[in-house]
């Protein structure tokens, strides 16, 4: 049923100054990259990736009015969620690389936990040291974690795409997984294309229904909520709008 199920927030973890995780008293089954529609009654309802499965957890960054309100909530408060939607990352190969920028690390950290007997290299990019998330979570499951910050306050001072570029000169991967700003993902995809490596990217578009009816979230003829949010190289190759523009709430195009 495509209607919010209201849950009590069981516990709140502060991940950074503007990122928190809510845990709920509920276990779910989800693919990394799948998302929930999160409802604050009488305010709005917006998409958030599944961050933890058992128990269910979502991790969110304060960026505007909705996430600000989320940020104020505490354990015991009630919010609604609608089912994990969309297609997540597909586990492929024996040696993979994860490339994240900013809060894009959220579904990738969950993905890292899902791999079994796979050699994972993670490239984690953020603006500053304080924006880094889930480093310990990643370190547990990755053989290598490369950290980049835009200002060099932690790890290497470069963009995650630069780190990937360097890495691809020396190493070969079965699949590269990416989530982050679209411009970054576009570069990651291009690098993969050049090196003939399969790429899976988790895209974002403005979402309303979340289950494929309203059409709001489309990129080309792909509904991000239903056919995505994770697209593979084959799908990405066909897109003309990837990294070019997205649509805001009214449907108007906004160029990157």
């Amino acid at each position: 049923m495509e209607t919010p199920e209201v849950l009590e927030i069981k516990s709140v973890v502060n991940e950074s100054k503007d990122v928190k995780t809510f845990f709920f008293d509920k276990k779910i089954k989800a693919e990394p990259g799948q998302f929930l529609m999160v409802w604050i009654p009488r305010l709005d309802e917006k998409p958030f990736a599944v961050s933890f499965e058992k128990p269910l957890g979502i991790t969110f960054k304060k960026v505007g009015s909705f996430t600000e309100q989320l940020f104020k909530m505490k354990s015991g408060d009630k919010i609604g969620i609608r089912d994990p939607y969309g297609n997540g990352f597909k586990l492929k190969g024996k040696k993979v690389c994860l490339v994240s920028g900013g809060r894009g690390v959220i579904p990738l950290a969950f993905l890292a936990e899902k791999f079994k007997k796979v050699k994972i290299t993670a490239i984690v990019g953020a603006k500053t040291k304080n924006d880094l998330l889930f480093l310990n979570r990643l370190k547990k499951h990755c053989s290598k974690v490369i950290v980049t910050t835009d200002d060099g306050s932690f790890g290497e001072k470069k963009f995650p795409t630069d780190a990937l570029k360097d890495l691809l000169k020396k190493e070969k991967f079965d699949c590269v997984y990416t989530c982050g700003p679209e411009i970054m993902m576009k570069k990651v995809f291009e690098l993969c294309e050049n090196h003939k490596i399969e790429c899976q990217a988790s895209l974002e578009r403005y979402m309303k229904c979340g289950f494929g009816l309203c059409g709001q979230c489309c990129i080309d003829d792909v509904r991000i909520c239903k056919d995505g949010p994770v697209l593979n190289s084959n799908q990405l190759r066909k897109l003309t709008e990837f990294g070019v523009f997205e649509r805001e709430k009214s449907g108007k195009k906004v160029y990157f």
């Binding site: 409802w39 059409g215 003829d221």
Partner: protein, 307 residues
Amino acid sequence: MSVKLNVELAGLKLKNPIILASGILGISKKMLLSVAKAGAGAVTTKSITIKPREGHKNPILIQTTEETFLNAVGYSNPGLEESKKEFKDLSNFPVPVIGSLVGSDAEEFAYLAENVKGIDFKAIEIVLSCPHTPGFGLLAEQGTPEATEEITLAVRRKTKLPLFVKVSPNIMCLGDVVKAAEKAGADGITAINTVGPGMAIDVETAKPILDFKFGGMSGPAIRPIAIRCVYDIYESVKIPIIGLGGIITGKDAIEMIMAGATAVGIGTGIYYRELDIFKKVCDEINEFMKSHGYSKLKDIVGIAHRD
């Protein structure tokens, strides 16, 4: 026996009678194209207003029972200027694109009809029937015979395209409304818009779920109401009807056609049967016609009216 699914609808030649309803997926040319590829005989754009509209906040569309959805989208759309860019150059589009227009009064409707001329729409649909957007449709008293006549006339003067008037099931005087549309020069009636409106309250938080609180009901459960409306309209006017509301299967479509529809719209059905519902429904219609000895759709339009 070979069966023909093509129909002529107010001068439009459709390869099959199944049309994408307005407001579902029709946000961009590319989405419309994917619906055409999925087998639709024609497609309708999301309704276009003069100014851009962000619409209501989310949730704008929820499921309320297995067979019902409520929506209160609030006519979000990028507005006339953006839409002209979005839909320009439809000349090679594989099926007719119907432009759906909404305005708050006759003047706005006329302005829209005049200004979408640059777009290669093959027909215009004017929507007088939204039950849940302030300033439009029923909430702007457009569901009366008088308003219907006035708006239809104003649009008629501005366009030579086939003109469909989309009506609401939530009015008692439906017969008079469609007669007014016909009199004012409409070429067809699109029926029905959503039912109700309805409302859903989350019992955990005791709050209405939709941001706008109320929303129009769609989905399989509204089919009986849509069938009745189309049956009534068929008795009231001579112009063809696009019947929609709760159509999920070929059998549903056949029922709609027997009630009097020349073509059949599908919206919420996509939820239940994915995008290729268009092909599936056409196949099922084909199958039904074959096994029942009907050779063309024309033969069954309105036959439920025979005694």
